[in-house]
């Protein structure tokens, strides 16, 4: 009688042990999934940050072409770019706070067939570059823009490159 009771207790203990092992495995699995989900979220936040930065870029009236105070988001005035680039070199407070750790580069490109391939890049402006002290990488975006020379009344094709430091 006593032996049978002991056996039954042992049986219950083993049952509980098995259930705990299964639950522990499930818990580890769920934690691993949570960690992966957090990594995904972090990636998404980084992408959203990049979108935010690109939106700032689209609404920088400092460089955009204006005609009777009507701003054109797809057009940048090359004289404004020159002045703004110079201004950004001196400004250490407002724009670093607004733009953060990014790099803005504008490239003038001539797609005309008579231009040789190695001479297509006509001009490059490094408008702003503020890397983090410990740069881990850089995410890049590219937007086609029109570069307007209001003095010569000339329109050039260009690309604005936005690099977000990670």
């Amino acid at each position: 009688m006593r032996k049978k009771a002991q056996l039954q207790i042992m049986e219950n203990v083993f049952m509980l042990l098995i259930v705990f092992v299964i639950l522990a495995i499930a818990l580890v699995f769920v934690m691993m999934m949570q960690k992966a989900a957090q990594k995904d979220k972090l990636e998404e936040y980084k992408e959203l940050d990049m979108i935010k930065k690109s939106q700032i870029l689209s609404f920088l009236p400092e460089m955009q072409c204006s005609d009777n105070n009507n701003l054109d988001p797809d057009c940048f005035d090359i004289y404004k770019i020159d002045v703004f680039t110079e201004h950004l070199k001196k400004d250490k407070l407002y724009y670093p706070n607004l733009l953060g750790n990014i790099k803005i580069e504008i490239i003038e490109f001539d797609p005309s067939p008579e231009i040789p391939d190695d001479k297509r890049i006509m001009r490059t402006w490094l408008v702003y570059d503020n890397p983090k002290p410990d740069v881990k990488g850089e995410k890049n975006l590219q937007f086609p823009v029109l570069l307007k020379d209001v003095v010569e009344n000339n329109n050039h094709f260009g690309v604005i490159k936005l690099g977000v430091y990670e």
Partner: protein, 156 residues
């Protein structure tokens, strides 16, 4: 059925439920995540490209939209005597597309059409056949009516 067998059945049921749960979670995890970057930035890209390129002055001192207009007219004298304006426009658009979208490995398709007119500029595309889903296309209309329609589609 003996008691031990019933207990084993109980454990099997628990294990089955846990395995189903794990498969469900793995399934959720393996679903491809839609990039926020793609959904927020790209709708603008095709339109920005067309707005910029069509107003660009080429080495012939004429903007691209005027070259296209000339291509669809009977004059065809804007690109100099030696060059065909349709070919000139095609080469210009192809080079610009390659520099912007091609360098980023994006698949694209650009078409130029005019109602009641033959296709004078062939479709310019890159890896378009493999594209499953495309972004919001960009349109540029060049008057007079019926307008010349330039359409750019970019793959997601």
């Amino acid at each position: 059925m003996r008691k031990a067998q019933t207990e084993i059945m109980g454990i099997v049921v628990i294990v089955i439920i846990l395995v189903i749960g794990m498969f469900f979670m793995i399934g959720q995890r393996l679903k491809p995540r839609e990039s926020s970057k793609g959904s927020f930035i790209d709708p603008k890209l095709a339109q920005s490209f067309l707005n910029s390129l069509m107003n660009t002055k080429t080495a012939q001192n004429v903007i691209v939209s005027d070259i296209l207009k000339d291509c669809y007219s009977n004059r065809r004298d804007l690109c100099g005597n030696k060059k065909d304006c349709c070919l000139y426009a095609e080469e210009t658009m192809r080079t610009a597309l390659e520099f912007t979208l091609g360098s980023q490995d994006r698949a694209y398709r650009l078409t130029v059409s005019k109602k009641g007119s033959a296709e004078l500029i062939p479709e310019i595309s890159k890896n378009w056949e493999a594209c499953q889903e495309n972004e919001q296309p960009g349109f540029y209309y060049i008057p007079p009516p019926p307008p010349i329609v330039v359409k750019l589609e970019i793959c997601k």
